[in-house]
């Protein structure tokens, strides 16, 4: 259930993590995620799941690993915290941003990535790269 060709697995662990014990160097909070809206939780959960799957071409969902795995994730945790719009977007096969990224958005992304690396370094994280023979 993964996009192994990219070394990325949505909804699960990549093969390298499943196969061997991993040394976890650190864990950083990305953000606390909450159910969206101001309606009752029960209504939000039901509405989120319903909205996420409404209008989705299930044939395409099956064809796409990413969409399939996001679908699995949506059924497991999605109703609780994932935004219905986000699930729908990710399952829709339209993986490009809905609108062209603004300069400000690009700058936000650069700042976020710099912050991410700074946090990792603050934990003393100096990752060793795989041996040359194992690099793909």
């Amino acid at each position: 259930m993964s996009e192994e060709k990219k070394g990325i697995s949505w909804g699960g662990l990549i093969k390298g993590l499943v196969a061997t014990a991993a040394v976890v160097a650190g864990a950083e909070l990305l953000f606390p995620g909450f159910i969206e809206g101001t309606v009752s939780a029960a209504k939000s959960i039901a509405t989120s799941i319903k909205d996420a799957f409404t209008g989705i071409d299930t044939t395409k969902v099956v064809e796409s690993d990413l969409a399939k795995n996001i679908g699995w994730l949506a059924t497991k945790v999605g109703g609780i915290v994932l935004a219905a719009s986000g699930i729908k977007y990710l399952m829709s096969e339209k993986q490009e941003a809905p609108e062209p990224e603004s300069f400000a958005a690009q700058e936000d992304m650069k700042r976020m990535q710099a912050l991410m690396v700074a946090r990792m370094r603050a934990q003393g994280y100096q990752p060793a790269m795989p041996a040359a023979s194992q690099q793909r």
Binding site: G16, P32, G33, A41, P127
Partner: protein
């Protein structure tokens, strides 16, 4: 009484975490975005700190859900963007120095006050 009065912190949210480190057998670095149940946040942090955290049993141990994992030092920007989009969080609000437990407690109180 509101239907929301019985809500728990795990009903309303997750702590979205970035975990990173080295895979065994010199397989290189990895990263992983996890959705940690608020009730398990302290136990999760303790396991990471004590180097007893096994990412392979994260799901089965009931800590929460694995969102996405991958090879490399840091997640690609587009993956982070998708995770943020899934949770409806603006990019500039990632990695903020906030107290997540306080944020969850505040949100839980707010949800409980909402009448049907």
């Amino acid at each position: 009484m509101s239907k929301n009065s019985n809500l728990t912190e795990d009903d309303i949210g997750r702590m979205v975490m970035l975990v990173y480190g080295q895979m065994g057998n010199n397989a290189g670095p990895f990263w992983c975005y996890l959705a940690v149940k608020p009730s398990k946040y302290d136990a999760f942090q303790a396991k990471v700190k004590n180097k007893t955290f096994d990412i392979r049993t994260f799901d089965s141990d009931g800590f929460g859900e694995i969102i996405v994992s991958g090879e490399g030092v840091t997640p690609p920007a587009d993956v982070t963007k998708k995770v943020a989009f899934m949770f409806n969080v603006p990019i500039k609000e990632l990695f903020l120095n906030i107290d997540p437990k306080a944020a969850v407690a505040k949100e839980l109180e707010r949800m409980k006050r909402i009448e049907d």
